[in-house]
């Protein structure tokens, strides 16, 4: 079993010898093509860029973009029939920044429709299979990105996380995935699901590989009013591997929750590993954790119902055949263009915002959201990081939860609170439950991505879970 190369090795190799970048890109394209019938990790492949070994921090690095990011001149579908024929006329800020750093996009990764889902089964372009067990889901909504990195199709991929859409698939596919602080990365050109929660991030094998990718993506953008105007630290330089004296909090409410036995054991073992590395582990109380699921499933659908109003069949996207009048055009275009889960959330969102219900639902959810954020604020007064299971269990079977939305929603129970609070969080591979990977979630204070990445890096220096490759994809 060969050790996968690190991104730092890959990039320095490309800078030394640009032709190796070309060869790598071709090899990745070939792997993608071979994997597609098994994994279905991509919605579209892009052969247009052959090399981009420009001397940048990601010189010639092959990547995939989640198909939620607009890419100039290419199909950008959001995993939806609604946008199956949409060709974006501009690049998302994330896309242009990664290209400027030297990354080469090989295509668009499959995803749950409009990033709504935890299994990648809501994609109009078909489900994605988990490389560790192709009868299981890869998680979602960034399932294609996670599966592609796990299967070694590309060294890194972009994703987006609204309630866990990077961390949950990273955990289920055994890769490292980071959702930075809300406002760390521009949302311009990233198709909106829930604007106050959506945040771009990335997948790679390790924290050390995530660091330069996140560094290239992050920073101020005049096109996004909610992005933070503060300098981006040099993330790779922050990876000292030293976490001696770091205080890690274990939120009681996460550990009291129902977690599959082998997953729980793997998480405990990982926490002992942090102690062995010199971290101090303490219990913390986050009393409003149990409000997160219901809070999220009010706020996210409310914003989604608004953000998806623009898909009306008038200017672009799916339009029904022969509409009889304007109402028919709207109703049939949207009924045909959106899948069941998207429709469910639009209806829920319209309901919680409607006259007479706004105060009881949306306004109340904004209050509980503040309580949840206060829990984090208080916890970080006494600890440097929080550690929790990323998911209640490992990857589940394709088809096993798709007809039961509330079971499906519960997959995100550990990832939702950090999204609601806007704090950065990442999932690192932390062992196995049977043959399926387990993810440990690390959560940091606002804009402390360096601390988070360094803790993950220290753990990965001492463990080899992140180097494991699924059988058949070595």
């Amino acid at each position: 079993m060969s050790q996968p190369e690190t991104i730092a090795d890959i990039v320095s190799g490309h800078i030394a010898s640009p032709d190796t970048a070309k060869e790598r890109i071709q090899a990745c394209h070939a792997k993608i093509e071979r994997s597609q019938s098994q994994l279905n990790a991509l919605i579209s492949q892009d052969h247009s860029a052959s090399n981009n070994a420009n001397g940048g921090s990601l010189s010639g690095l092959p990547i995939l973009h989640k198909d939620l990011f607009c890419t100039d001149g290419q199909a950008t579908t959001a995993g939806s029939r609604m946008l199956a024929n949409f060709v974006a006329p501009y690049d998302a800020t994330v896309v242009s920044r990664l290209a400027k750093a030297g990354a080469v996009s090989l295509g668009k990764a499959n995803m749950d429709e409009f990033a709504m889902g935890s299994s990648n089964e809501t994609s109009y372009f078909g489900a994605v299979a988990n490389p560790w067990d192709t009868s299981c889901v890869p998680g979602g909504s960034s399932g294609g990105s996670a599966a592609a990195v796990a299967a070694g199709l590309v060294p890194a991929a972009t994703g987006t996380d609204t309630g866990g859409s990077i961390r949950q698939p990273a955990a289920l596919c055994g890769v490292t995935g980071i959702k930075p602080t809300y406002g760390r990365v521009s949302r311009f050109g990233m198709i909106a699901f829930a604007s106050s929660l959506d945040q771009a991030g990335c997948f790679a094998r390790s924290a050390a590989d995530c660091a330069p990718v996140l560094g290239a993506m992050a920073g101020f953008d005049p096109n996004d009013s909610t992005v933070a105007d503060q300098p981006v630290p040099n993330y790779p330089a922050a990876l000292t591997g030293d976490i001696n004296g770091l205080t890690i909090g274990l939120p009681r409410q996460y550990f009291d929750a129902e977690v599959e036995a082998e997953t729980a054991r793997a998480i405990q073992t990982a926490i002992r590993e942090f102690e062995a590395l010199g971290a101090q582990v303490v219990d913390v109380d986050m009393p409003h954790t149990d409000l997160a699921l219901s809070t999220y499933y009010i706020i996210a659908p409310a914003e989604a119902s608004s953000n998806l109003a623009r898909y009306d069949g008038v200017r672009y996207g799916h339009r029904c055949e022969n509409p009889t009048d304007l109402t028919d055009l709207y109703e049939r275009s949207r009924a045909e263009g959106f899948g069941r889960e998207v429709q469910r959330r639009i209806l829920t969102g319209a309901y919680v915002l409607s006259a007479g219900y706004y105060d009881a639902y949306y306004r109340k959810a904004q209050r509980t959201r503040r309580l949840i954020a206060n829990d984090f604020q208080q916890a970080f007064e006494s600890v440097d990081l929080l550690a929790t299971p990323a998911t209640p269990g490992p990857a589940f079977k394709l088809g096993s939860q798709i007809d039961n939305p509330t079971t499906m929603y519960a997959n995100d129970v550990f990832t939702l609170p950090a999204s609601l609070a806007g704090v950065p969080a990442m999932s690192v591979p932390a062992g196995f439950a049977g043959h399926l990977p387990v993810g440990l979630q690390l959560i940091g204070p606002w804009f402390e991505e360096s601390r988070l990445l360094n803790a993950g890096h220290a753990f990965q220096q001492a463990t080899d879970w992140h180097t494991r490759q699924p059988p058949g994809f070595e």
Partner: protein, 484 residues
Amino acid sequence: MPDASWQPVIGLEIHIQLATASKIFSSAPTAYGAAPNSQASAVDIALPGVLPVINADVIRMAVRFGLAIDAEITPNSVFERKHYFYPDLPKGYQISQLALPIVTGGHLDVAAEDQTQRIGITRAHLEEDAGKSLHDAFDNATGIDLNRAGTPLIECVSQPDIRSAAQAAAYAKRLHTLVRYLGICDGNMAEGSFRIDANVSVRRGATDEFGTRTETKNVNSFRFLEQAINYEIERQIDVLESGGTITQETRLFDPDRGETRAMRSKEEAHDYRYFPDPDLLPVAITADDIEYERCRLPELPAAKAKRFERDYALATADANALTVNPETADYFETATAAAGDDPAALGRPTANWINGELASVLNREGLTIAEAPIRAGQLGGLVHRVADDTISGKIAKQVFDALVAGEGETADAIIEARGLKQITDTNEIAGYVDQVLAENPEQVEQYRAGKTKVVGYLVGQVMKASAGQANPKEVNQLIVDKIG
């Protein structure tokens, strides 16, 4: 006959299009009349993934507006999304303000029907305009032009303090004048830069209760506003007096028929599902920002009119007429300065020319003051020559007409060329006087008998004999000296 005890209650909502170079949330230009969809950016057409970014000029203009109506400026006003589906609303929602508008609690003092009344302004909020649906441009299809989508608007909502159509028009005109002064709106009503919705209800007797109101939308002239309101008042009184009830509804004014008609009722009203726009931060405005704009405020119409009354010794009505827009006021001040060094003496004759002869020329030709065929300096030169007795008022009208017709560059050039200079040679005038006194012995006798008013007739005769060129004051004096 309608019962005279009915009292109309009127409130106006006015959409003021802000004169920014670019749109409220995108960098696309706002110029009017461009080819359809040539001024709609990715943000304006609501492509997937785009985000709004507030135009700082919009905020500055709103602050200036708030200061000019003595209102409060909200330090952290909030943009919200107002949802409804329509093809010319690309996002499926309009970005507007609801709970926390940028401006609250102002007022305007309005003079109409011989009294000045303070009209309260509840709020003024920022919002983006929608695009346009072109229903007649294609067969079996509606065209959508999104050039206007994202154009910045202030919606200014008055209190229901207005009690007549004339007062409503006076309020709207006052606001129109104000936004022109502030330089925040071009005021072009034909192009939709200043659009008025009128809320009208009626009530009878001594009551604080309001009747059911209707809202008449998009009235685009002050004359139509008066017509629409008067029509609506009469219609509502008729309905109520014949035992009916008023339906709360939106109505449209038809200028061809001079009447309003129902557009949609409240039952069809939308649930707009407002909520704060998560793509935009609250608009942070500091006390320093407000002071900065306060220092840059121009002299406002009410202050200017007061100054005109004081410094130029004008009547209130003249001062108000001259300050209706900044261009007319500037024209007046330039002309008076050109007429000489005594504003208190020269202001009134200059005002009379502008509000009289010049106004009728502009009206006849359909011109604005900026397009006036006679420049302020030229008019001042003419006023100067009347004031120094070079020409009489009557001759001055000829010179004015000649200037309008472009027959000379200055009043002096025309006076010279046409030999219109007033006769001040007393001997020459005395000749005309002797001749007239000889021809009118009857009037001379009447004068001597005490009917001194007859001297006016005699002066007129002398002026006639001198073809208008004698100085009337001198003529008057000579006659009195000779027969008195």
